[in-house]
Symmetry: C2
């Protein structure tokens, strides 16, 4: 997008300001006026004015050498989102128990459009090749919790994920649509997902779904361990019981082990 497009009259001031916020990411949490201007296509003067207003409110903060980061006030407002607040509040005690009892890294993941979004990550005592970061998004098809969410998602979301392509992130990533469909059917049948080297080379996971008060799958919980672990199966019950405990805390009606919603 060039400067003229970025500043076109049809683009509202608010959408420009939101575009400024949108350039910050976990891969690139700091920006200068110049890099914001380049990423948004907004003129430097426009960028400067919007950034000044965002800084004044606390959505951005200025750090050293003309660089800007997301500010604490935006974090505070964002912390009010239901996925962060209600889900995380309900899940955290059980996630802590899971991390303590297994020693492994524990993740809480939700769907964010066609992406898997890490809402919580508790560090384990046992080192593993973990690339997750709270607030980071990953493709749905390339992780255990992502596939669990996809297995219980509407068919059109699966179609969208497939249409966006299934990029290979590591040696075990499922890149074939038919193979993915089979894996999702397996997850619906068994109620859990084992993954090896799908998102990160050397990392494996065991994942299970969390059911919300509506009876729908609202999140996935996983533990991550090194791929040299021969057998992931012994971890399945503890991950499923943890996910069921969170489902119960969320007021899930009836069945807390969703195993066959679409595989009947």
């Amino acid at each position: 997008m060039n400067h003229r497009t970025g500043n076109r009259p049809g683009r509202s001031v608010l959408s420009r300001a939101l575009a400024v916020l949108g350039v910050f990411s976990s891969e690139r949490p700091e920006h200068t006026i110049t890099s914001i201007s380049q990423a948004t296509g907004l003129a430097p003067a426009t960028t400067h004015r919007l950034v000044a207003e965002l800084v004044e409110w606390g959505a951005l903060e200025r750090v050293a050498r003309g660089r800007y980061r997301i500010g604490i006030r935006l974090w505070r407002v964002g912390a009010l989102a239901p996925a962060a607040r209600d889900l995380r509040d309900a899940a955290l005690p059980f996630l802590q128990d899971l991390a303590s009892a297994t020693g492994h890294y524990v993740h809480l993941v939700v769907a964010d459009g066609p992406h898997a979004l890490f809402v919580e990550r508790l560090p384990g005592r046992i080192e593993a090749a973990v690339r997750s970061q709270v607030g980071r998004r990953m493709p749905m098809h390339a992780s255990g919790p992502g596939k669990v969410l996809l297995a219980h998602a509407p068919a059109d979301l699966v179609a969208e994920v497939v249409a966006r392509g299934l990029p290979r992130l590591a040696s075990g990533t499922i890149t074939d649509p038919a193979e993915l469909a089979g894996a999702l059917a397996d997850i619906r049948t068994t109620g859990y997902c084992l993954s090896r080297d799908e998102m990160t080379e050397g990392a494996s996971s065991v994942a299970a779904p969390v059911v919300g008060g509506s009876g729908q799958v609202v999140a996935a919980i996983s533990v991550v361990l090194n791929s040299d672990s021969k057998n992931l199966q012994p971890l399945v019950p503890v991950v499923r019981v943890t996910a069921a405990a969170v489902s119960r805390a969320l007021g899930a009606p009836g069945e807390r082990f969703p195993v066959s919603e679409r595989s009947r």
Copy 2:
């Protein structure tokens, strides 16, 4: 603020949109167009248009019956703030250990202007009268971690907090400026803070400062327990050692037990 004031030409579109986001709080996480309009002083039509654009971007999401909440995209962007990302990432393993070893609720708190902001809260096995919530702000003078931050804050922040008034939240709240000054001097001398019934009736805390890479106090860590606990002193070393471990992880230079920066 009346509608005319809210829609006055001098108020930019962006500042109006930020005012819309600003009405959401931990006390009131859901709003209707009407309640947003009332809280911001913006005309209903203006409010409706801004809300629609915020929903489209993902800053807000529509829930049932015309109500709106903060959306997952704003949470995701907010999670990039340094206090949430760098500080929390560094602190979390040590906070988990502190919660496990003591069984008490653990808090990580930073200064947000003249307020104390809860960045992290880990639930304890031992019940306590805990009012904290991640993302919630409390007055600085009325909690252990708040007073720790204030003890190491610039003198003008202390003056601002005093000028805003020292409201009583519970039977033990310090409401006298001279008494507060004495308490802050004690914290600088001893390196920790014991509080009873200051924020919440029935809750006591032990708090200590965290030093960042700059050598400044950047956060406070506390454990919360019931006020019927006779002696808080035995918890002081474990809280101080945990705070020092986080300071070390943040790259704090030299002294990790800041005890006398302004009391010398």
